[in-house]
């Protein structure tokens, strides 16, 4: 008997479910960064706004990377429904701290999928996620560096303006 199922799909269903959840998480991150860009624009942090516009685009690229992987492996990628986007922040520090929290959540989620793929013997998914593991190291490091810069600069006097100007250093 021909193995039609294996001929049609080259990853495990459990991996597909987790990758669909990750698609949703990346889409949520993209929408959240767009909300942060909006907050920055409205509060005079124009360089930070540009930074978050770029971050929003990057998260969408990550989402599409996973989406296309599911297409390539014969899986069923789901277009995500995004709700509960926070638009309220207490300060620019709050914005960057929320960003770091978000990135840490994404990292943990990626690591969980890698562990599960390894457990399932799903080598294709495990290898595909190698790029995401390293990308998350870079993403977290960028936000940590910005928070360090904010800490050194301080928010008194012209500090806020200096912080916004210096965010340009982390934009490629």
């Amino acid at each position: 008997m021909k193995d039609i199922a294996r001929q049609s799909m080259s990853i495990k269903v459990e991996s597909m479910d987790m990758l669909n959840a990750q698609i949703k998480m990346e889409a949520h991150a993209s929408a959240s960064y767009l909300a942060m860009a909006s907050w920055c624009e409205q509060n005079g942090f124009f360089t930070s706004a540009k930074f978050f516009f770029k971050q929003a685009e990057e998260e969408r690229e990550h989402m599409m990377k996973i989406f296309n992987f599911l297409v390539d492996t014969g899986g069923s990628p789901m277009s995500p429904e995004i709700t509960n986007i926070n638009h309220d922040y207490a300060s620019i520090v709050d914005v960057f701290e929320s960003t770091l929290d978000h990135e840490v959540k994404v990292t943990k989620s990626i690591h969980n999928i890698v562990k599960k793929a390894r457990e399932l013997g799903d080598i294709a998914t495990e290898r595909f996620l190698d790029w995401f593991v390293m990308e998350q190291v870079e993403e977290e490091n960028t936000i940590r560096d910005i928070l360090d810069m904010i800490s050194v600069t301080g928010t008194e006097g012209v500090g806020l303006q200096m912080i916004d100007n210096q965010v340009a250093n982390w934009m490629e």
């Binding site: 008997m1 021909k2 193995d3 039609i4 199922a5 294996r6 001929q7 049609s8 799909m9 495990k12 269903v13 459990e14 597909m16 014969g74 899986g75 069923s76 789901m78 399932l120």
Partner: protein, 106 residues
Amino acid sequence: MVEINRSKYYSFHQATADRAFHIDFGHKTIRLPLCQLLSLRHKLKTIAIEDHFDGDLNKHGFEILLLCNKEHLFILNTLEILDLTELVESSLVKLGLAQPAQVALV
């Protein structure tokens, strides 16, 4: 056509000739390529079965399933939904696409 799996109400088959799976609903048999089978699984997973036990949320305890790009329409009760979910999940295990430990009714 080879029978892969059977539940209380339905049976699951593989047809090598047309590279697809078939589910026999008793009164009707439908053809599902793998993408449609995954779509059916997704629809079943998103059903809030707990609503069937709350008269306000699902008064009649039925679900309407539109399958295969709206080619087929089924109205199933609570037990039939649970049975179909079990059939699909355990069939994926038998096909080697899912792990046995991951099989859950809801």
